[in-house]
Symmetry: D2
Subunit: 89 residues, 4 copies
């Protein structure tokens, strides 16, 4: 199941984040902390991309092949929005 | 026509970029140059988003409503790819 | 103490991430999950910026005012590196 | 001279951008245009990083070793600001 895969990846990221919090608690070197945060962000980007891919291959196909024009527009607008946002985070 | 709009936006960005090159030639303050480059990147992100939106509402709808499964997969894969890349630039 | 502030922010992000994992477990709508992940990334960016600011105002000042040229170069190189990476995540 | 190098890189990017405008004028495939824009953004990120590196090794060292506390704070604040912005573009 695809969700299981996503959950597993996200729990790994959660563990990574907890590790970085521990680093800060133990007064680790700032730059090392920043690098670990950047690694977490890269991992989150990957999860997002996988989720979007799934979404395109399920909901988006269904909506576009469906007869509801409003729904089709909504689904495509959302993709444009998350694409635009992805450049900002 | 949508293309005209995109071309106009991109020519504005080209003018902006030429202005920044002039700033560097005239030894402008580094941080001001970096800020201008960041403004150009923000403008490029917006153009990209508009182009993707157009693409979703034309080629993507056509491909997904079409009967060619390979083509459908190709079109969706591309969107996932540019989404993933957008997080990296 | 600045560290306490950072730790508090990161624990909030950890809670947010756990919430998003729960969303996936409960089969939330993909786009909503992606938006939450993007919100987490924005929050991580802010934490990184605060940590860098702290670092600039402590270690970096000390290193640059110190007499060790190698150390000075190392510290500045690191900042350039995390800046370059920040554009990629 | 470092500036010459920066100017050369930026003129290459300007040429790249003009090429992409031509692509749009000739109705190139949307996704190809988006990919080229992303390549331009990656190149701009590299230029920014080089400029920041230069800046750190010149103005920033001078300011921090100088006796003007206000100037020191200003210079460090700017770096924190462009770092924060770099995550958003």
């Amino acid at each position: 199941m695809e969700n299981d895969n996503t959950i597993r990846r996200m729990k790994t990221i959660e563990g990574h984040l907890r590790g970085v919090i521990r680093m800060v608690e133990e007064d680790a070197y700032c730059i090392d902390v920043i690098r670990q945060i950047q690694a977490i962000e890269a991992a989150l980007n990957k999860v997002s991309s996988r989720i979007l891919e799934e979404h395109l291959n399920s909901c988006v196909i269904t909506a576009i092949q469906g007869s509801d024009k409003k729904e089709r527009e909504r689904v495509l607008k959302e993709i444009a929005e998350v694409f635009e946002m992805s450049a900002k985070v």
